[in-house]
Point group: C2
Chain length 340, copies 2
DNA sequence: CTGAAAGCGCTTACAG
DNA sequence: CTGAAAGCGCTTACAG
């Protein structure tokens, strides 16, 4: 493998190690000819800098931590990871992942952060929802003094926070239903307490307002942990005399429950009931008929999160005016025109 | 954060840096009193060794790479990661993950491995199925001279290879059906070319043999990439005069297709058709009725893989006689007694 | 059982 | 625009 050191390159190029270092780090103040000679020597010797030596000297690890809650169908987390890895590859960083148990994530946080910051010397953190809603976790993170980027978090006061345009995505979903002739449109919220749930509900309301449709509280149901079940919330919507003809759910997982309850009630999708989900969750791919849903550019969020974080690490204060990434309506077969 | 160095500890304990180093690394040949003095100093100073200094000196990175194919519902991969992280935490290592695109994974491999081995100095690799079936990937890996542990691979000649007892798991599934009175039992294989598909088919055959049931080729169907679709394979089983009364599928994803085709054919599960899957895939959780399936200890595999790999890295040749981890039958509602 | 010296391969701080 | 020296914080190789 790679044996050559910066000293070998320096000798081959007839310069000092410091000059090679300058070339490696794209520092200014090297004559073009010198730079070329160094570059040639690097290529000839197949030289790759020793990252561990650089780590020791610069006191940076070139490692960024990704913190997320681990649950079985967490496609969102994997997409974030994929995007973040792409950015890391480009910028010379690596990713250290850290899944937390879904019960009591804050319980392990102190030990874990100490481990990551002091032992592995992580330079910064990306926090994936819903973990970024956990105040204890965020507080512990901020105490380390390490840069943080949060994704889709309600509280964007203290650190960088990124998200796609979820409100607009929800509007897209509801407008799609309105355009199909529906006006009795329900909303089933699975994500109470998450930024996503809040934004998607806002989008629902804004779309109704835009078309002059009044919100009917009987057609809005929420699953609140410890109070009811998602099934109960869904039955509340569907088991009433004057029930909605279409339902927009805060995520695809809730849409799956709507499918099941609808089937029990002999409501045929999309003829008796149109359903739109949110997320384009691959776990919903075996739903039949295929679910109309909203797709967000999640990997792009991960990419941007890593890029901003690294920028923050290097330049200490990065300013970013990132446009909200647009969401997209994916029309499949769970939505149809209002029938008489 | 952590400021104290090994020199500070040495001074505080009244010994040399080397002796502190000995204590840190649990090397023999330190008097108990000396060791205690060092331990006390370490605690008093809240000392944490600088991993990057150790990395530079020992030419190890204490990083292990996990290579897997990235597809949307890869719960198997996340479970492997979780298990591997547990082992790494215990043994002082960290994980570097590397998802490959599902199309042409070997295409990126050379660049990527060079990146991981030469830049990040990864000490070893865990390869997750089905990536470990890719000869080009394995060849490139072996060329790096880095230790490898493969999980559930067909080819276990060249490197360490771990798997759970998949054959027995499949037997469990088929015996469950036989015990319910079924003898016309079909097998739908989605995983042709994977070790898992092969082993699960073997288990199917062995269970039939054990109960003196002859295998009927009409009741075995395989999805082969480029030849047919999974739907077609499934229809072959279900659209025949003398069709099986129960189907064992090589994974839960195929079971979902059986559900859909069965519903189209007005076959009610479990009354007209019993279905057993394999994997306990959380993506199958919104199947109705809930799917009977086989659950493997996947996180345990990940834990063992990391442990063995690190043992190999440290001691260079580890011998492990690991018992195959047992699979488990999870009975839900997709299987029922044979009805007349 | 313990320690003094050297060095891993870079970058920092400084000098010219 | 370029370089010689020092040092990041450990462990290796050796001596006693």
């Amino acid at each position: 493998m790679s044996k050559a050191t910066i000293g070998d390159v320096a000798k081959a190029a007839g310069v000092s190690k410091k000059t090679v270092s300058r070339v490696l780090n794209n520092e200014p103040g090297v004559r073009k000819e010198t730079r070329d000679a160094v570059t040639t020597a690097i290529q000839k010797l197949d030289y790759i800098p020793n990252l561990n030596a650089r780590r020791l000297r610069t006191k940076q690890s070139y490692l960024i931590g990704v913190l997320y809650i681990d649950y079985p169908t967490n496609f969102y987390g994997s997409l974030i990871l994929n995007g973040a890895i792409k950015a890391c590859d480009k910028l010379g960083y690596d990713l250290l992942i850290r899944p937390f148990a879904s019960e009591n994530p804050a319980g392990e946080i102190t030990t874990t952060l100490r481990h990551m910051v002091e032992r592995s010397n992580v330079d910064g953190f990306i926090v994936v929802p819903p973990l970024c809603e956990d105040q204890a976790v965020i507080a512990a993170l901020e105490e380390t003094g390490t840069p943080i980027v949060k994704i889709a978090s309600l509280d964007d006061t203290s650190s960088y926070c990124l998200h796609s345009d979820e409100v607009e995505g929800a509007q897209l979903a509801v407008e799609h239903l309105i355009n199909l002739g529906h006006s009795k449109i329900g909303f089933l919220n699975y994500l109470v307490g998450h930024a996503a749930g809040k934004w998607r509900y806002e989008g629902y309301q804004q779309a109704l307002t835009k078309y002059g449709i009044e919100e009917n509280p009987d057609w809005v149901a929420q699953f609140v942990y410890g109070e009811n079940t998602l099934e109960q919330a869904c039955r509340k919507l569907l088991c009433q005399e004057n029930r909605p003809t279409a339902i927009f759910t805060a995520n695809d997982a809730s849409a799956a429950v709507v499918y099941r309850i609808a089937s029990q009630l002999k409501l045929r999708i999309p003829y008796d009931l149109s359903v739109v989900g949110f997320d384009d969750d691959p776990a919903a791919l075996n739903l039949w008929p295929p679910l109309t849903t909203i797709k967000q550019p999640v990997a792009e969020l991960g990419y941007n999160a890593a890029t901003i974080l690294i920028e923050q690490i290097i330049r200490h204060q990065a300013k970013w005016e990132l446009p909200l990434s647009p969401s997209e309506l994916v029309v499949r077969n769970s939505t149809g025109p209002l029938l008489e």
